[in-house]
Symmetry: C2
Amino acid sequence: MTKPRSRRGGGRPTIADVARKAGVGAITVSRALREPGRVSEDLRRQIQEAVDELGYLPDPNARALASARAEVFGVLVPSLTNSVFAEVLRGIYDSLSDSSYRIQLGNTHYSGLEEERLLQVFGPQRPAALIVAGIDQTPTSRRLLETAGCPVVQVMETGPDPVDMMVGFSHFDGGKAATEHMIETGYRRIGFIGARMDPRSQRRLAGYRAAMEAAGLFDARLITTTPVPSSVTLGRELFRDALAKVPTLDGVFCNNDDIALGVLFECHRASIAVPKTIGITGFNDLDMMEVAFPSITSIRTPRYEIGRLSVAMALAAIAGKRPQEPVVDLGFELKCRESTAR
Amino acid sequence: MTKPRSRRGGGRPTIADVARKAGVGAITVSRALREPGRVSEDLRRQIQEAVDELGYLPDPNARALASARAEVFGVLVPSLTNSVFAEVLRGIYDSLSDSSYRIQLGNTHYSGLEEERLLQVFGPQRPAALIVAGIDQTPTSRRLLETAGCPVVQVMETGPDPVDMMVGFSHFDGGKAATEHMIETGYRRIGFIGARMDPRSQRRLAGYRAAMEAAGLFDARLITTTPVPSSVTLGRELFRDALAKVPTLDGVFCNNDDIALGVLFECHRASIAVPKTIGITGFNDLDMMEVAFPSITSIRTPRYEIGRLSVAMALAAIAGKRPQEPVVDLGFELKCRESTAR
DNA sequence: AAGGCAGATGGTAGCGCTACCCATGACGTC
DNA sequence: GACGTCATGGGTAGCGCTACCATCTGCCTT
C-alpha cells in the first residue's frame, strides 16, 4: 500500500510527505518549522498536525547541506577528566539543552597539533559556533578559527587579543592573590607546586612569582613543577620533593586542588601540622576543599559560569547581537579556610 | 580570475574542482578518498596531488546526506562531572582519535526523558554508532535504539537483554564483594551510604544487602541514602546522619569514592579512628583513594577499558564483524587498603 | 572467433532540505 | 484607476556528495 521508498532513505517521512499531507508546498512546511511567525496560524496548525501524524523529524544532514550551516556547537577542551573542564562543559550543556543544537566535543590532550587537527575536522561541517579552551592557539589554529565563519568563544582565560570573544578570568591575578594571602598570613618560605604546567598554570606561577618578588621572598628553589598530568598522587610526590629540597618550607601554593589534596594527605601521613607548620592553598575550589580536614584555602574560579556565558554570547552573536565588550572577565574569589589560618 | 562561486558555498573547493584538476570524474575522486584500493595507483596519486594543491576537504554534511550515514559516534552519559564517566569518555576518545569519526556527546542528567529527547536528536542524523550508559532505558528509548539502524553499545553494566552489545561489570557483585570484605575483616554494624541512587547504585545496594543478609547482619536502619547528587560534602552529611541513627556503626560501605572521602574527612574532624572505630570502603577506586590518609579500600572499576572496548566493538560491528558474545563483563577488583585494615 | 568476465572509470540521478525569486491578493496612496 | 507595499505562499534550482548502473578495456575461455 505505502508508496515505494527510495533505495537510500530508511523510509522515514520527508518534508515532501508532510507537505502533501497538509496540502501545502514543501517550502511552507520548512518555514512553518523554522520561522513560525511567517506562516499563517491556519496553515501552521495544519502542518503541525501532519508532522505529528507522520512523526516527521527534519533531516539535520540535509538541512546542513542546504543551508550551509549545521546546528552544531563545536567544543574543544584539553582534558575530559580534569573536573575544571567538566564543569565548564556542564555550563555549556545546561545552556544548550533547550535548543536544538547538538554538541560535538573534541579532546585536545593539551596539544596544539591535536587542536589543529580537530579544528580541521570541525570546520568543514560549518558549525554554528565554536568554543575553545585557552587563548594560546597555534598560528594555524588561530587562522582556522578566524576563517571558521561562525562565532568563536575562547574560554577559561582573558587576554588582549581575542579571535572573536572571550570569557574567563586572569590566572596571573589568581596566582598572585593566593600567594599574597599566604604572605599576609605570615608564611615566608612559600613553595609553588605545579603539574602539567599548561599555559594557565604558567600564568599562575608568574602571579606567584610576582607576589613573592614584591615581598622580597622569591627563591627559585621554592618552585617544584613537572610536565606530568596532575593528580592527587602527584601532589604527594611533588610535595615530598619540595620538602627535601627546602626543609624550611612553611607553605605551598598548589597549582590546583588535586595537588593540594595530595599535599594535605602527605602532611597527615608525615604528621606535619596544617596550618601551623605548613600552610596550603589550592586553586579552583573544588567541592572537597571545604570538606577536607582541615578545610583548604583555594581560589574559587567561575567554571560553570564561564560555560553558561560562553554559550549565551555565542547564541547572541548567532542572532546578530554582538556584545559591546568581546572580552568578559568573570573574576575569581579567594576562599580563606583552615589550611592557612594561623 | 577564480570562477564565481555559488551563493551558498563559502568558496571552498568541492569534489568537482578536484576532479577537474585531476582530469578524472568526480566519482573517481570520491572512490580514491574512501576506497583507495579500487582506484589505480596512477590516478590515486594524481588525485592526491589535486587534493593537496586545492586544500580540498570533503563536506561531511553532503557526505552524510548522500550516503545516509554520518561519521559520528553518538555518546550518552548521565553526568559530565562524575569522574567515572569522564574516564569512560577518555577511553572512547582515545580509541577514536585516529579515525575520522566525530563524537557527539549528550548529557542525560540521569533522566530517562532527557535520554529519549537526545536519542530523538541523534537518530535522524544516522550516526555510525551509539554508545549509551546504563541498561535501564525506557521502552521508548529502547525502541529508538533498536531502530537506530547502527551498532549500539550499552556500557557500565552487564545484563541479560542487550539492545545490541554491552560492556561493563556487575554492580551487584561489586557491592557484594565490598561488603563481604568488610564482614570478613570483622566489621559487624556496617552501614550503606549512598547518594543519587541511580540504577547502578541500587544494584550496589542490593549486593550490600545480599551480603549482609547472608551473614545475618542486615538491618534496614543501617542504610542511609538520598536522591541528591553525590559529592564529598554530601558524604560528610550522610555519615553524620547515619551515625546519629545508629551510634554503634562500626563501618560504612560507600556508594562511591566521593562519599567515602567525605566520610573520611568527617572521621578526622570528629576524631573517629579509621579503621579502628570505623572502617570505610568506597567504590570506583579513584586516584585519590590510594593517596588518602589512611588510604581507602575501594572497588576498582574498569572505566577506561569500558570506553576503549565499547568503541572497539562498535567499530568491529560497523565493519561487519559482530562479536561472538555481545555482552562483555570486564569485572572489577577489590583494593584492600588501610581504611579497613584492622 | 565469439563469448564471458573482472577491473577500472564515468554519467546520471538523486539524498532532503533551503536560498532565491516570483505570484497572488489585500490594502493603501495619490 | 494606476501604482506601490506588505503578507503569504509556492516553484525552481541547487547544496556537494555518493548509489546505482553503464561503459570500456583487456584478458581468459572454449
